[in-house]
Assembly symmetry: C2
Homo-oligomer: 319 residues x 2
């Protein structure tokens, strides 16, 4: 029986090691592909969220939270691998994507393998019956819906703000919701508070994606470290563009007639204020999230970490 | 609390309905794609296996077996959808594949969605703690390994029998193993017998795949109802071909030099006896499986259904 209590930092280190262990101990055939992913680890934002939400009053974190955090990071990697197939993306976090390096067919299977590993990891929670509220399959369903909706709306220059929100809710906010929820079921005895964690997670995720969607129209390629192809070139329409199209319908016409270059669009979005508007919308969610945080009556350490994650989502990971 | 006991036929009908319910009640966006799959239902061999293995001494079947059978059929559909992406297949069970009809990108997501539905269905088993031995994620892992191994060995004209067996063990026998196992955990009080069910399942799966691999070299396209492209044209090397290449190395040379046509290969495999050899190997597993069945001391009804599944695998589904 393991019933380890960990500090936030030790839990975080343990999670990173566990993720690496899963990637590096995969069967040789799979390892050839997935070990590649250890090179392009993200900042483990979702793992941090799980662990922060799992923190007890005294600052300790139950070992089950490490298992949940690991499972969610592996699931996140799985979605990235399949996501890159959907987007035909060549770069991710500055490194070549799995689909670009090894081909779509192998990427499909590697994503499936990672999905299986995430579920296996979840199953390894000692007494999973303690956590029946948390059902990962519902989140995978939501993520699929988001991805499919994005794919359906590829090059839809009439995309509405509502549909945009639905898309990013599925493709990004759902896994944030899952992370906050998974952490909360470990720490929270008062089950009526679970929905507050979920809402906080969802808002943090929405803000995270909106900030990310601004990058294409604010930074140059090297700073973005994301892809040689911008969202627009991939047909992905985001809020800065929706706003600009609404303010200047002529721009939409140009897009429809395929006379709109990316450089031209970037300049126009800047001039019209598409990213400023997007940050304003993100700010509304930020304020809602702060309200929720204040309502939750958390220990100062826990509140600080969760506020930190919110700030990182709002100001961008590099700040 | 549901604790329904069902007959084999009623459990089977309930499983089919439950599979259809999952496909038809998917969110609209997903339904547009997956409802297409209800058109090309297979024969539910795996569901039949789950239910047969779950049969009690008195012929009754616990409702949990329906949940397991449904989950396994949905998982099977998920693997088919991703499999068709891997193989670039255009037809499946005589119908256009999802990847051909809607594109690879959407097929990736639909497969993921079905995978999530399978896991969700499993989670709906009332007291999942009763069945801790059964871990679906290990099987998904094995299936991925099989698929990846097949992909790695595409157009490998020196494929060994051993590697061929490893491939079909992962891509087909693993899910049969899972089906027999899932059924057995529902019915079997004597846990020491579980490995017999699993072995029976694995052998039935191996035989099933070997028989299937013979179809390309025995039947014309319309009878096979499988694909306009044969295994060989897709670069998939199967036992009838391995045997023929070993008997006539000149044939392998022709394949390597790309001077071997499919028609020529089919004629040569027939002449050399590649399918006869494959059926002989399948017969060895058949005999082993019969031995296991005899050892298991099952009720006559249960033994009969399991023998029937074995016979169908050995003689082909259409006999």
């Amino acid at each position: 029986m393991t019933n380890l209590s960990l500090t936030f930092e030790s839990a975080f280190e343990k999670t990173k090691k566990e993720v690496d262990r899963i990637l590096l101990t995969a069967p040789l055939l799979i390892k050839n592909y997935v070990s590649h992913l250890t090179l392009s680890h993200g900042k483990f934002v979702r793992a941090r969220a799980v662990l922060a939400c799992a923190m007890q009053e005294d600052g300790s974190i139950h070992n089950d939270a490490v298992t949940f955090a690991t499972a969610i990071e592996i699931l996140h990697l799985a979605t990235l691998v399949h996501d890159d197939i959907m987007d035909d993306a060549e770069l991710r976090r500055g490194k070549e994507t799995l689909q670009k390096k090894f081909g779509k067919r192998k990427a499909v299977i590697c994503g499936d393998y990672l999905l299986a590993m995430a579920i296996k990891e979840l199953k390894s929670v000692e007494d999973i019956n303690k956590y029946t509220e948390f059902d990962i399959s519902k989140y995978i369903e939501q993520i699929c819906m988001g991805e499919l909706r994005q794919s359906e709306n590829n090059r839809n220059f009439n995309l509405s703000v509502l549909t945009y929100l639905k898309i990013i809710n599925g493709k990004t906010a759902a896994l944030f919701d899952a992370s906050y929820f998974a952490g909360a079921v470990v720490s929270e005895k008062d089950k009526s508070k679970l929905h507050l964690y979920r809402k906080l997670g969802k808002y943090t995720g929405l803000i995270f994606q909106m900030t990310d969607d601004c990058i294409d129209y604010e930074n140059d390629e090297q700073t973005a470290l994301k892809s040689v192809q911008s969202d627009f070139e991939q047909g992905v329409i985001t809020l800065p563009v929706i706003y600009s199209f609404n303010k200047n319908p002529d721009l939409r016409k140009q897009a429809e007639n395929q006379t709109l270059t990316t450089t031209n669009l970037i300049n126009q979005v800047k001039e019209i204020g598409g990213t400023i508007y997007t940050h304003q919308i993100a700010k509304r969610y930020y304020d809602k999230a702060i309200n929720i945080l204040n309502k939750m009556n958390l220990s100062s350490q826990k509140a600080e970490i969760l506020k930190g994650l919110l700030d990182k989502s709002y100001y961008g990971l590099k700040k």
